[in-house]
């Protein structure tokens, strides 16, 4: 009996050590997933959050991007938009934020591809935005490119993906 307890305790200790090691040294994929979930959480905000909280979360959100990040937005029905630099991206995000009372951002599907050198990664994901209390949902597919800078995965390129191929949609709207 005593032997059995010793074995169980030893197994539990090994399991705890493995879990601790994995928590401290996550795989690149897990680290990126966690980082992007953190970004979604930072971009979300509740009604009534003050300007100080907004500035803090904007500052926090900027930590997810490289200073020279570029964002290409090409949405159906809108002019293509290209934004360069972290400050400009954050400025536009703050402006958009001021127009909403609250927002919940999620990335429900992420397909992560790590480059062979382990220093860059491409993520194809769905971004979902909901305003709590309202039924409208906005969903958009994106490609994010990330690179490892000082041990942290930072986003250096963002582009929208048209789930439905654009050529026909453009043709459809061109002669309405």
């Amino acid at each position: 009996m005593k032997r059995a307890i010793q074995i169980v305790v030893a197994l539990a200790a090994i399991g705890l050590a493995v879990w601790g090691w994995m928590a401290l040294h996550p795989s690149p994929e897990k680290a990126i997933r966690s980082r992007l979930n953190g970004l979604a959480k930072t971009l979300s905000f509740k009604a009534g959050s003050g300007s100080l909280a907004q500035a803090y979360s904007a500052e926090k959100a900027s930590e997810f991007f490289t200073p020279d990040v570029d964002v290409d937005v090409n949405l159906s029905g809108f002019e293509p938009l290209s934004i360069q630099g972290r400050d400009e991206v954050m400025g536009i995000a703050m402006k958009a934020r001021s127009r909403l009372t609250s927002l919940k951002v999620e990335f429900p599907d992420m397909n992560i591809t790590i480059a062979p050198d382990g220093q860059t990664a491409k993520v194809n994901l769905t971004g979902k935005a909901t305003v709590p209390g309202e039924r409208d949902i906005s969903a958009q597919e994106f490609n994010f490119k990330l690179k490892k800078v000082n041990g942290k995965w930072l986003i250096y390129h963002v582009e929208t993906v048209r789930t439905l191929s654009s050529l026909a949609a453009e043709a459809a709207t061109s002669e309405v």
């Binding site: 599907d109 992420m110 397909n111 769905t126 039924r135 789930t163 439905l164 191929s165 026909a168 002669e175």
Partner: protein, 180 residues
């Protein structure tokens, strides 16, 4: 004087013995454990197998498939529908974005290799007008110049033609057929 009143029948005695055995078994404790195990098995089986790999429960949001499908309706996407046969014109399908957790719901109107166009609100396939019996109310589609589909491409649009995105999709984006 002592009086004797008939004792109230035990709750179990109100039911015939066979019914009691059929419902709660000879040993209620054992039956409860069996029921619990069965409930856990069913939960795991449906949540992690049936609702992941066979049918995906979906909640419809938006009006692009109106009036065929209403906003906030519940439906299912059958993932195995195109294992042995390709998607057909008229099928309503779930189209994945980066994954199946958020999908677009559209109707297939063009098949691989076909040339699709919309003229005067009518669907034109390979130069001929194509009837669309599945449309409950004819809502004219915006004009679209002919689009030649590739060997693995389908053309999709919502039934609410004036309020729906449309475009080409690759076969691998089709998650399955909408069931109901």
């Amino acid at each position: 004087m002592n009086t004797m009143e008939p004792a109230a029948p035990a709750p179990a005695a109100r039911f015939p013995g066979w019914l009691r055995i059929a419902v709660i078994g000879r040993n209620p404790k054992r039956t409860a454990i069996r029921a619990l195990v069965l409930a856990v098995f069913c939960f795991v089986f449906f949540k992690f197998f049936v609702f992941q790999y066979i049918v995906l429960p979906v909640r419809i949001e938006g009006y692009s498939m109106y009036p065929t499908y209403h906003d906030w309706g519940i439906n299912f996407v059958y993932r195995l529908s195109y294992r042995h046969s390709p998607p057909q014109r008229g099928d309503v399908v779930g189209i994945r974005m980066a994954g199946p957790k958020v999908m677009l719901m559209k109707r297939i109107v063009g098949l691989p290799g076909e040339t699709v166009a919309f003229e005067h609100g009518r669907l034109i396939v390979n130069g001929a007008e194509m009837p669309e019996p599945y449309l409950k109310h004819h809502s004219p589609a915006p004009f679209m110049t002919p689009v030649k589909l590739g060997p693995n491409e389908y053309y999709v649009i919502g039934d609410n033609r004036m309020n729906s995105d449309q475009g080409r999709i690759d076969r691998d984006r089709i998650v399955g057929k909408v069931v109901l």
